[in-house]
Subunit: 396 residues, 2 copies
């Protein structure tokens, strides 16, 4: 055991998250801690709420950061909206749909699974069939942006289907928030959770959530208490609600919220629509390079997340060795495949602050070197050249 | 709504937590984020575990920081160790015993309450009666250091009682860890949770826990899955367990863990026994001053927590006005009373880095000014003089 100060290496984070955190956000995190009931802190909480509403594109009053990582945000949605004995339609086309299933079961409810292949978008027809066959279902749960595969599903159409069958929606937007269009009010989503360590470029540990009025009504009409005291929104609202009088619930993670606040200020400065465009354009630049290398994407063009690129590992390549070379030689982290895709894809993140040209060029060059080291055939420098050409084509 | 960077005021934090965070810890928090599966981060996790074992005075393998505040640490203990339909003896002598009751109920179990007055230590005789009368009970839950009252109960004797009746113990050590003796192995405690924002002087948001082998056996023998996916220790252990192969469970709050690591390094440098002594000595200095002011402590001497001083509000004093004057004029935060003690006591914290002479002198001077402003009679400067005299008597 070592008991001396820890200094992390300087990495470039192009995995599935955390993404590179902007120095402004790190700086905010180190500001002096104050009390969670301090009037100054309470005023800051109001700004966090307002900015978060803009990023989620919602007027939902119940919009706040849960004091724990994205998986606790997911759990917040399920434990508050579902009661034991109920049935929930859960779409699974990757790892996080599977985690939703676990959440439903642990609430004492029954998941009705709608499964699609990993790497494919959620099939609307299958969902409609499940909703039709299970009229007692009151909630449809799905992942907007599957972090395990790089697929985005049609959240708007799924929410329409849910309304048609009188269901609320629980939506995983961990990787989509601030990276690709997400319009909570326009699409009529009911309970949405996200994370800070993806397209917000913030440190991990906080989960932004937003709940519609219909979702709040459902919570208020519950027969049983929420099974988690820590995640019970009836109690959390007492602290994050309106007015100067905030009831103590738990001690908020003050400095993590400073960082989260700063990340929202930065999105606000750029404009959330501009952030979506930047993510899309940078994806196109990376894509040009990846294809020039001779590599293929897992996901069909129309369902690809610009911020999370699942790239198929060519036959005969030792993928672990590639990631190790990237990490050890370039201090560059890209993600391995998860679950059904372990060993089959790399996940290259272009999220938030990390979605920039320098990172793209570094990644393409490093990948080319690592692949060539294993005898992979590709034209020298073609990737970087193609990326630059795409950049010019975009008029940048 | 304001959407500009937030700069908190510089406060001195002498409430019930968060306490003043040392600049070294704030600095650690701002170090560059790396991945939660990065080999360098995984090595740091091992050091966190080792140092935390020392602070808890335990060899328990299952010793780790939960990625959420202390109330999630509490919930971790209850959801993992208790199953629906069971009975649990819960001691309540303040706000946090009441929260334990809520936790037991939300697991679907029945709390058998042993109640003591707020401000009094837990009565061992009452606990023994409850255990004797309920032989089916398998867990005794109690608060070692009640943050709402400033009382410490006899954790060693309570654990002995528990063993006599074949019960495991769940122990709230949120405020005691690193501030007053807490000896997990010597006392035979089974599931202990704490917080970072008290005597570790760290930012809030993380909950250190430790589980004995007997507690782990209980978890492994569960009939039902743990109701929380996020807090299921079977899964969390896959990430925090032994060896280089860590299974992804959730994204750890990387920077919060840098800060936690640094706080443990600082305790390690001082020595945990020395930290206990410092807290005790500084309490005596504050006490000399408080009594010279003519104020009284809520808690009997032998049960007082040195790090959390519940001071009775003199008759006729507007306590809110006092706290506001302290905050606005001196940037000094002390705590209000909670629950049954609202309006009756102030809670003056001397925790971690904030347990120092400068803070004590500031607090005494500011309190004297605030009380005199309301016509309270006290000898000018007597508090500071008495504090200095105690300091000399201690040979410091």
């Amino acid at each position: 055991m070592t008991a001396t100060s820890y200094f992390p290496p300087l990495r470039t984070l192009m995995g599935p998250g955390p993404s590179d955190v902007h120095p402004r956000i790190l700086g905010a995190m180190a500001r002096p801690t104050i009390g969670h009931l301090d009037p100054s802190f309470v005023a800051m909480m109001d700004d966090v709420k307002g900015m978060l509403q803009t990023v989620f594109q919602t007027k939902n009053q119940l919009t706040l950061p849960v004091s724990a990582p994205g998986s606790a945000g997911m759990e917040t949605c399920f434990v508050n909206l579902i009661e034991p004995g109920e049935k929930v339609v859960v779409c699974q086309n990757g790892a996080f749909g599977g985690r939703m299933k676990e959440n439903v079961e642990r609430v004492g409810a029954t998941p009705v699974m709608v499964e699609d292949e990993w790497g494919k978008a959620i099939d609307l027809n299958k969902v409609e069939t499940a909703l039709k066959e299970n009229p007692e279902v009151k909630v449809l749960a799905f992942v907007h942006a599957e972090t395990s595969t790089g697929v985005q599903s049609d959240a708007k159409a799924l929410a329409e289907l849910a309304r048609k069958y009188d269901c609320l929606t629980i939506v995983d937007a961990v990787t989509s928030l601030a990276g690709t269009p997400l319009k909570v009010d326009e699409w009529g989503l009911d309970a949405v959770y996200s994370g800070t360590q993806k397209c917000l470029s913030c440190t991990p540990g906080i989960s932004p959530i937003t709940f519609s009025e219909r979702a709040i009504e459902r919570i208020k009409a519950r027969k049983q208490k929420v099974q988690s005291w820590f995640l019970d929104l009836n109690l959390v609202m007492g602290y994050w609600g309106e007015g100067a009088k905030r009831a103590y619930h738990h001690t908020a993670p003050i400095n993590a919220l400073y960082a989260f606040h700063e990340s929202l200020v930065m999105v606000h400065e750029e404009g959330v629509e501009n952030a979506w465009t930047r993510h899309q354009q940078n994806h196109e630049v990376l894509k040009a390079g990846i294809e020039a290398l001779g590599l293929k994407f897992l996901v069909a063009k129309e369902h690809r997340l610009p911020q999370l690129n699942a790239v198929c590992i060519p036959e005969g390549i030792d993928e672990t060795q590639v990631r190790q070379l990237l990490l050890n030689q370039y201090n560059l982290e890209i993600g391995a495949g998860l679950g059904a895709l372990a060993g089959k894809v790399w996940r290259i993140g272009l999220m938030g602050h990390a979605s920039n040209l320098n990172n793209i060029l570094l990644c393409l060059t490093a990948l080319e070197t690592a692949l060539k080291a294993q005898g992979f055939k590709c034209v020298e420098g073609a990737a970087a050249t193609a990326a630059q050409a795409e950049l010019v084509a975009q008029g940048r």
